[in-house]
């Protein structure tokens, strides 16, 4: 498989991993596997490597249920409960009034529908939760991988463009600010590392997709 396939596969895994991390607190098994998986990610970007290292080290410190509870408490404090310091919803950063279910939630709902997808608990689960937006990106990556496997380059191009558009219109606009909120609010390595990793990854991925699109236009 070519470079594009490899990098798209890696990106899909990252989005899927981040989706899992931001959706709920971790399990013991997950932290154990995550610690190892983070070491498997290679990058020429120092901040991505730094984020991976932090997460990996934090995972090694989770040995029992009590350590896990600490992570769950931190997850709840940051993202779930009581005027959360880092609300993981695009509407808070991009919408009017800093509330949930703003225009961005409706906008991403449209994007999901164009791909035949809809939030499982429509109207109850804000469509623009970071986990869902990442899940969508992972979905698009997966579809692109299928197209590349079938050597359908036109379809692959379209899907890469969709990713670029979704990145530009949504993810890149708010996720870095969200990550900054997390970094300001947490002293822990786990979510601090995740935030650093996420921010750097999103910035790099955004740049990658723009370059890729520019290249394909040049190519065409």
């Amino acid at each position: 498989m070519n470079d594009l396939y490899e990098i798209t596969e890696a990106r899909m895994h990252v989005y899927n991993l981040l989706r899992r991390i931001y959706a709920a607190g971790p399990t013991l098994e997950f932290t154990s596997n995550l610690g190892n998986a983070m070491l498997e990610y290679l990058s020429d970007v120092e901040s991505i490597r730094e984020g991976s290292r932090m997460v990996s080290m934090a995972c090694r410190e989770v040995r029992n249920e009590k350590d896990l509870d600490d992570l769950h408490v931190e997850f709840a404090r940051l993202f779930l409960f009581g005027k959360m310091p880092a609300p993981p919803y695009e509407s808070v950063y991009q919408g009017e009034g800093g509330c949930l279910m703003g225009e961005p939630a409706i906008a991403v709902r449209r994007e999901y529908l164009k791909e035949g997808l809809q939030v499982e608990r429509l109207y109850s689960e804000p469509d623009d939760h970071i986990a869902i937006e990442f899940e969508f990106m992972a979905f698009l990556c997966n579809k692109a991988l299928s197209a590349l496997k079938n050597q359908d380059n036109n379809e692959a191009d379209k899907l890469m463009k969709k990713q670029k558009d979704f990145m530009e219109m949504h993810i890149a606009k708010w996720v870095p600010s969200f990550c900054d909120s997390v970094l300001n609010a947490t002293k822990g390595r786990f979510y601090g590392g995740i935030a650093l990793f996420t921010k750097s990854f999103v910035i790099e991925d955004s740049g990658f997709l723009i370059e890729l699109y520019d290249m394909s236009e040049v190519k065409n």
Partner: protein, 951 residues
């Protein structure tokens, strides 16, 4: 192509297997969790975004419950308007209503079940599933019931929401607790004393609600507004009631203004110049700055004056009342007694010395009230409702309205509880279940209700339950003192609170904290073994919970409004949008708890009483309004001249109007087509029945059918306690006032208020603690800054003022950005903002300029206040003459907030006061056990000068 991309190495992995293992999945594409595949294609997209949908509900931002018309799109609230069809607010809203999206979509919402990690009060939680949360709660309840006897050890506090019937059913029927309670217990029960005993009523308000539907001479119904000929009061006297700010009854705001435009004199009797007082003083009315806690003395003098002058309406008294002679005799028995001030009781001079209102002014007002009809004397929540001796003012206010013949007169006074709709759903019949308990070695049978912790124990006349005494009960337990289970003891082991925040509002905060964290010295376990909080926002009560459950917010749940109109009006709360996150409606929670109890082996639960019957909220609420409107066809003009007079009316307005009814002459009931949730939905959420006046057969629900000056309800309680234990409240009365009761008073009574300089018992204490500490409500200044911090831009009532320290917070603010074509465009965005000092309202302590001078205090200083028990609070100061000398006034709930969920108010906790930290937790009123919130003496013991004033 890839070779030319500079970022091609920003992410790779060396092992796909490891990456997948981290996710716990084998297949790389089995990852769609939150998104599901739909059928359809791109053409379907816009079809899934229809235009606006309109639903009707009522507000919950404050207790006024104004009717709302809500426009939604794509499953979210887009626009909020007032519901014109609801005569309660008639399409109008104050500034709070349209801010509802801030509540519904706040990032401060509780969206998932949470379980405590660490100690109560630390605020550390982790997310759990509903199943896990319910299992934890119900296993514990089953264990408690087995270990300690039964459901009586569990309190269900249904809080301050008014559509709470499902929780009553949950308490009585599933948990088997005989004492679900509600917010009214700590709202204003002393205020209700007069209406309750005179007519079995509740709240007396001026007849100023318009529009009302009135039967015309030609038989038609016409909606009449303020411009009609309907009489309005010629005077309204508000004692400790501030309808313009602390809105509870929306139509009083516009009605008071409309009445004043037609010549009504509005007199506001209040230690502070509240908004209503300020307005009245500038609109032909006046502010009368009374000494706190002396409304009793004031009203007593007015009543004496009226009777001495013979201004009472003898005809009305003869026709509509019973026992007036005895009441008058008892009242007059004081007239020749001399008080410690050397004056005769209830004389003008006596009242002048107590209230510091000149006797000329008292005489002038007594002349006005005695000789003017129609008119209304109205007393409020904080002022009288929150006072230990508030019963007396309530009794006297009621008496004055009755002896002047203004009760139910057009333009007079209406008991808005008696003439509003009936609704049910409370499932009180479960309290009749037979239970057995072992008492002193014998097995005794009785009913579930016979185990009530107040009525059958320390508070036999605690008709509204005694939430203020819950901390003591958690610490000491309950002993049953009346009825078949007399001698039986049980502990309080669990508390489930819904939508309330008793840690802040349920009497003394520190006492609640002590009770909720008290441990058994032998085991180290919490005495209260289970504490559950069900709410939509994270406040102080959540901090002490073991489990927090997400409740559907007001736009997401169902109900029937608890408003107080002047005639029968039913208003639907419809589900406008689906509950956010994992929040559930009241019926869903009721069913979920009942089912979990059942699954955990609780034999008290019958599925047919819960989830098998109430498969949807509509079923529950339609059943609740089978008894609606439930008022009698009485009054002038007769609401339905074609239907039998005096019969109870049930059914929709249109069916009653058209005569599509069945009449039961035995039961004296007219049954129209039943009103349902669906009918309300089709009629803009509202049903309105005709207004009438002089509805004595409806309004007066005393045992005798007359307005009672000798109270059969109190006589009944005296029968119950005859030969039995002395009610706990009598001990407190003796301790705090020196008055000894061996039975409940059945007609006029008197005692001096505690912690009051006007009372000789406290004159020495008042020398050391010369300041009376009172509170008032500012609805936008309590908790709502968590959702709408812009509400902190509006100062109010001298107790919510821009005297903040500099701070940073993430808030929504207006920003101007360039749009896609480079044009500036304004929008609200969240950003971290720095608030300079003096730019954001906080709860302040209003201090009169004379007191400020004597203490050397200026606006912007931070004072330390010490109360008569040595407890302290800090508060930033506003020096103002809108509060009388000798008084410190602070907002209720507007300061000292220690839950991060309380928004920007939380950020000011170190220099704003929680007045309830200064309340004496043992000061509970003698009959209803209500906390003495406003009976506080204090002094200023320290002054810091951070210089927070900017002007």
């Amino acid at each position: 192509m890839m070779a030319k991309i500079s970022r091609r190495n920003f992410i790779k992995f060396s092992s796909a297997v490891a990456a997948a293992a981290a996710l716990g999945i084998d297949e790389l594409d089995a990852f769609l969790v939150n998104l599901k595949l739909q059928s359809g294609n791109e053409k379907d997209v816009e079809g899934r975004f229809p235009g606006y949908d309109v639903k009707y509900t009522y507000d919950s931002y404050c207790p006024s419950e104004c009717g709302l018309e809500v426009w939604t799109k794509g499953g979210k609230v887009e626009k909020i308007y007032g519901n014109y069809a609801d005569p309660y607010n008639h399409g109008k809203m104050c500034g709070k209503g349209p801010l509802g999206c801030g509540l519904v979509y706040s990032t401060g919402r509780i969206l998932h079940p949470m379980m405590r990690v660490g100690k109560r009060g630390e605020g550390k939680f982790k997310r759990v599933s509903w199943d896990e949360a319910l299992n934890h709660i119900t296993k514990k309840i089953v264990e408690i019931k087995k270990k300690y006897g039964g459901g009586e050890s569990i309190i269900v506090d249904t809080g301050d929401m008014t559509d709470t019937q499902p929780y009553y059913r949950m308490a009585y029927g599933a948990i088997g607790s005989p004492h679900p309670v509600e917010h009214g217990s700590i709202c204003d029960t002393p205020r209700r004393f007069g209406p309750k005993n005179f007519i079995n009523g509740k709240r007396w308000e001026p007849d100023v609600m318009r529009p009302v539907l009135v039967r015309q001479p030609d038989g038609s119904l016409k909606e009449l507004d303020y411009d009609s000929d309907l009489p309005l009061p010629k005077y309204i006297m508000y004692l400790g009631w501030n309808p313009f700010t602390a809105t509870r009854i929306h139509w009083e705001s516009r009605g008071t203004v409309s009445a004043a435009l037609k010549g009504c004199k509005v007199i506001v009797v209040d230690p502070g110049m509240c908004n209503t007082a300020a307005w009245a003083a500038n609109n032909n009315g006046e502010w009368v700055p009374i000494r706190p806690g002396t409304d009793n003395h004031f009203l007593g003098a007015i009543l004496r004056y009226i009777l001495e002058k013979g201004y009472e309406d003898k005809d009305f008294i003869a026709k509509q009342t019973k026992g007036f002679d005895e009441f008058e005799k008892e009242f007059k028995s004081y007239w020749n007694k001399t008080d410690s001030n050397g004056f005769k009781y209830f004389s003008l001079e006596w009242a002048e010395e107590k209230t510091t209102i000149s006797k000329d002014k008292i005489r002038e007002l007594a002349e006005l009230i005695g000789k003017t009809k129609p008119g209304a004397v109205v007393w409020g929540m904080n002022g009288i409702g929150h006072r230990y001796a508030g019963y007396i003012a309530s009794m006297l206010g009621t008496a004055i309205n009755v002896v002047t013949g203004n009760f139910e007169a057009p333009g007079g006074v209406i008991d808005c509880n008696q003439v509003r709709i009936s609704k049910d759903g409370y499932a009180g019949h479960f309290n009749g279940r037979e239970v057995t308990r072992t008492v002193n070695g014998s097995v005794i049978k009785g009913k579930q209700g016979d185990l009530h912790m107040d009525e059958m124990s320390d508070w036999p006349a605690g008709w509204y339950d005694v939430v203020g005494d819950h901390p003591r009960r958690i610490l000491e337990g309950v002993e049953i003192k009346y009825g078949p289970f007399k001698g039986y003891k049980y502990p309080i082991k669990a508390r489930i609170e819904i939508g309330g925040n008793t840690v802040i509002s349920g009497s003394s905060t520190w006492k609640w904290q002590e009770a909720l964290t008290a441990t058994d010295p032998k085991t180290g376990e919490y005495l209260l073994e289970l504490n559950v909080h069900i709410d939509s926002i994270y406040l102080e009560n959540s901090l002490y919970a073991d489990i927090v459950l997400p409740a559907a917010n007001y736009m997401e749940r169902y109900g029937i409004a608890d408003i107080y109109p002047s005639c029968a009006v039913a208003v639907l709360r419809d589900q406008v949008v689906k509950p956010l996150g994992e929040a559930k409606t009241q019926v869903e929670i009721m069913n979920a708890v009942a089912k979990a109890l059942y699954d955990n082996g609780d034999k008290d639960v019958d599925p047919k009483d819960f989830w098998l019957k109430y498969k949807h909220d509509d079923v529950f609420w339609t059943e609740a309004i089978e008894v609606t409107p439930g008022v009698k066809n009485v009054g002038e003009p007769l609401p339905y001249p074609k239907l039998p007079k005096g019969y109870k009316l049930l059914g929709t307005p249109d069916s009653l109007e058209a005569g599509r009814v069945k009449i039961d002459h035995d039961k004296k009931v007219v049954q129209g087509e039943p009103i349902t949730v669906d009918w309300l939905r089709k009629n803009q959420g509202v049903a309105v029945w005709p207004m009438a006046w002089r509805r004595y057969e409806q309004a007066v629900q005393s045992k005798s059918g007359k307005i009672e000056f000798v109270w059969s309800k109190m006589e009944h309680e005296n029968e119950r306690i005859k030969g039995g234990a002395r009610p706990y409240g009598f001990e407190l009365l003796e301790k705090y006032t020196g008055t000894k009761w061996d039975k409940y008073p059945t007609t006029f009574f008197w005692f001096d208020p505690p912690y009051n300089p006007a009372s000789p018992r406290y004159s020495e204490m008042a020398k050391k603690y010369p300041l009376q500490i009172i509170s008032a409500r500012v609805h936008q200044g309590m908790t709502a800054t968590y959702a709408n911090p812009q509400q902190a831009e509006t100062p109010s009532d001298s107790i919510w003022w821009p005297l903040n320290k500099e701070f940073e917070a993430e808030v929504a603010d207006w920003v101007t950005e360039k749009n896609s074509i480079g044009m500036p465009q304004g929008t609200m965005k969240v950003a971290k903002k720095r608030f300079a000092k003096g730019t954001h309202c906080v709860g302040v302590c209003a201090v009169n300029s004379k007191d400020a001078e004597s203490y050397g205090v200026k606006t912007g200083d931070v004072i330390t206040i010490e109360n008569m028990l040595g407890k302290t609070q800090k508060s930033v100061v506003l020096v103002t003459d809108t509060v009388r000398p000798g008084v410190l006034k602070m907002p209720f709930g507007g300061g000292g907030r220690f839950s991060p969920g309380a928004g920007t108010t939380y950020l000011q906790k170190d220099y704003t006061a929680n007045i309830n930290q200064l309340v004496d937790p043992n000061l509970l009123t003698p009959i209803f056990g209500f906390p003495g919130y406003l009976d506080i003496l204090g002094r200023i013991i320290a002054v810091e000068r951070p210089g927070l004033a900017t002007i």
